[in-house]
């Protein structure tokens, strides 16, 4: 599993510091929750972990994010390999404009996975599928099951992804992200657009997935952090105020964390 270390990380939008001088090691194989009020830099931190920050104008990044010892913000870093290793789940799920099955296949397809690669990745025997196409079908089933969506869509895999409910769309997004077999999953408030039942489904998935993946989740819902987190990072106005095993939420030291946990600020 990947080791993520953040060293002296500062991210600026123009002249505004979105994140100031962060230093942190993120534990492997756990759910790390980035917690904090709106506009505190949570999403920025998350996006700097797979360089989605690149897509924004006037963003400058200083310092290092080391994944397996390699600084991903080095201009020579292999961006496509990084994004394969670090999956991303956005706040509002966007199905790609294609069928449900093609959404799941999208990643493996662009990474030119062969029949053998696919079967190895999903842990199927080498003779489970005769062609790449058949192997892809197995892959679609495998990841839709992992995301807990298979039973609901097995009869309409060729229907547009857009026809799904938003809760189903978020699980489709999860299946799609898992299909490139990342080692880390970044999730940006993945349940904030969902109804409570769908949200609970997603949370359960995360708990099941943390055995295999390092999960980093942004939320501003304290109770969600309590339910899910093994490790918590509390950010406030671009600054990392406190971090540690989730239990510190019960006895925060910093007055800002106390105010947040106590419900004085949200």
């Amino acid at each position: 599993m990947s080791r993520i270390a953040i060293r002296n990380l500062t991210v600026r939008y123009g002249k505004h510091d979105a994140l100031r001088n962060m230093n942190l090691d993120i534990p492997d194989g756990k759910i790390t929750v980035i917690l904090g009020p709106s506009g505190c830099g949570k999403s920025t931190l998350l996006r700097s972990l797979n360089r989605l920050t690149d897509l924004y104008d006037e963003v400058s990044v200083e310092g290092q994010v080391l994944i397996d010892g390699e600084n991903i913000h080095d201009p020579r870093a292999d961006l496509l390999a990084l994004r394969k290793k670090v999956g991303f789940l956005p706040q509002r799920p966007f199905p790609l404009p294609m069928s449900i099955a093609d959404n799941v296949r999208f990643g493996p397809r662009i990474h030119r996975m062969t029949r053998e690669d696919i079967l190895r990745q999903i842990g199927a025997p080498a003779d489970a599928a005769a062609s790449r196409h058949a192997a892809m079908d197995l892959l679609v089933e495998h990841y839709l099951k992992q995301a807990g969506l298979w039973e609901e869509v097995r009869d309409r895999l060729h229907a547009p992804g857009a026809n799904l409910s938003i809760g189903q769309q978020q699980r489709l997004a999860l299946a799609r992200a898992l299909a490139v077999e990342p080692e880390v999953i970044l999730a940006d408030e993945p349940t904030s657009a969902l109804d409570p039942i769908s949200a609970q489904l997603i949370e359960k998935r995360f708990q099941a997935l943390k055995e295999k993946y390092t999960i980093i989740l942004v939320t501003h819902v304290l109770r969600q952090a309590r339910r899910l987190a093994d490790y918590v990072i509390f950010l406030y106005m671009g600054e990392m105020v406190e971090h540690g095993p989730a239990s510190f939420l019960n006895s925060p030291r910093d007055p800002r964390t106390r105010a947040y946990v106590g419900g004085e600020i949200s």
Binding site: L55, R83, I110, A162, R176
Partner: protein, 282 residues
């Protein structure tokens, strides 16, 4: 209170009026053309080229103009699409800096607003300079230049509507800019792209000024790109100006054919577009 109610009523009435004017124009146009021209439409007019004395009321038809217009407009549309689509895609943030994109858009807007006679004259000057006569290829190239800014602007507009998060999703899975563009941006904006092509086609097939000097006019159906060719807008222009009643009627018939062609292409493309918009995320 009364004032607000009158305001409400007034703007509703205004909207109704605009609707009536827009729909009314279409109906009136079809009506007038059908009334004046439908009598002249016959198999002979549609499928034959002008015979001797045609412009004095003799036999023959406007097949030269129908085929010529289709050649010109289709040729121009294909070339303009091949050039416009990459250009419109390149105006995305991923490829062009905001400054370059703004400058390009401004230029295209100016070009899109340039009257077509200017394109016609410009192309004519160039053709004379290189010793090229009025020809099908001259007309196609001029129409291409005329269509290019219209099509590119319309395409860039729908491409800009593709949600950033959707592209982010593709990038997040490790897609390159090209893969994201092809698999996500083009698919998502496909219905709009088809509309853009259509808009340019309609503009091209109906334009008289740009083909006047560059494609010329001919009573024969062109057999090579170097032949001059007739077109429906010019056929309308020449025939309606005639003092002979039969010729005038055939002018209206030509206009009717032109209108029906544009409507037909529009409806068919929309049906095709709908077929491809199944996966579009709304």
């Amino acid at each position: 209170m009364l004032y607000r109610r009158i305001q409400e009523w007034f703007f509703r009435a205004l909207m109704g009026l605009s609707l009536v004017i827009v729909l009314g124009s279409l109906v009136a146009m079809l009506g007038v053309l059908a009334w004046r021209g439908i009598g002249a439409i016959s198999l002979e007019v549609l499928f034959q080229t002008p015979k001797g004395g045609y412009y004095l009321g003799g036999g023959g038809g406007i097949a030269n103009a129908i085929v010529g217009s289709l050649y010109l407009a289709l040729g121009g549309t294909v070339l303009a699409t091949v050039l416009s689509l990459p250009l419109a895609l390149a105006l995305q943030r991923e490829y062009a800096s905001p400054r370059l994109a703004r400058l390009t858009r401004l230029t295209l807007d100016v070009l899109a607003g340039t009257p077509s006679i200017v394109y016609g004259v410009l192309a004519f000057v160039i053709m004379v300079r290189i010793g090229m006569g009025a020809s099908l290829i001259g007309g196609i190239l001029t129409l291409t230049v005329l269509m290019l800014p219209i099509m590119t602007c319309a395409m860039a507009e729908v491409i800009a509507l593709v949600p950033r998060e959707m592209k982010e999703t593709a990038y997040g899975l490790g897609a390159t800019r090209w893969e994201s563009t092809l698999a996500v941006v083009v698919r998502q904006s496909l219905p709009g792209l088809i509309t853009a092509v259509l808009l340019a086609f309609g503009r091209g097939i109906g334009d008289a000024a740009s083909v006047l000097f560059t494609a010329g006019f001919s009573d024969r159906i062109p057999t090579s790109l170097a032949d001059p060719t007739a077109s429906l807008p010019l056929a309308v222009f020449f025939q309606i100006g005639s003092p002979v009643k039969e010729v005038q009627e055939r002018g209206y018939a030509s206009a009717l054919v032109l209108l029906v062609l544009v409507l037909l292409v529009s409806v068919v493309s929309r049906l095709i577009g709908r077929r491809f918009s199944r996966h579009v995320i709304r």
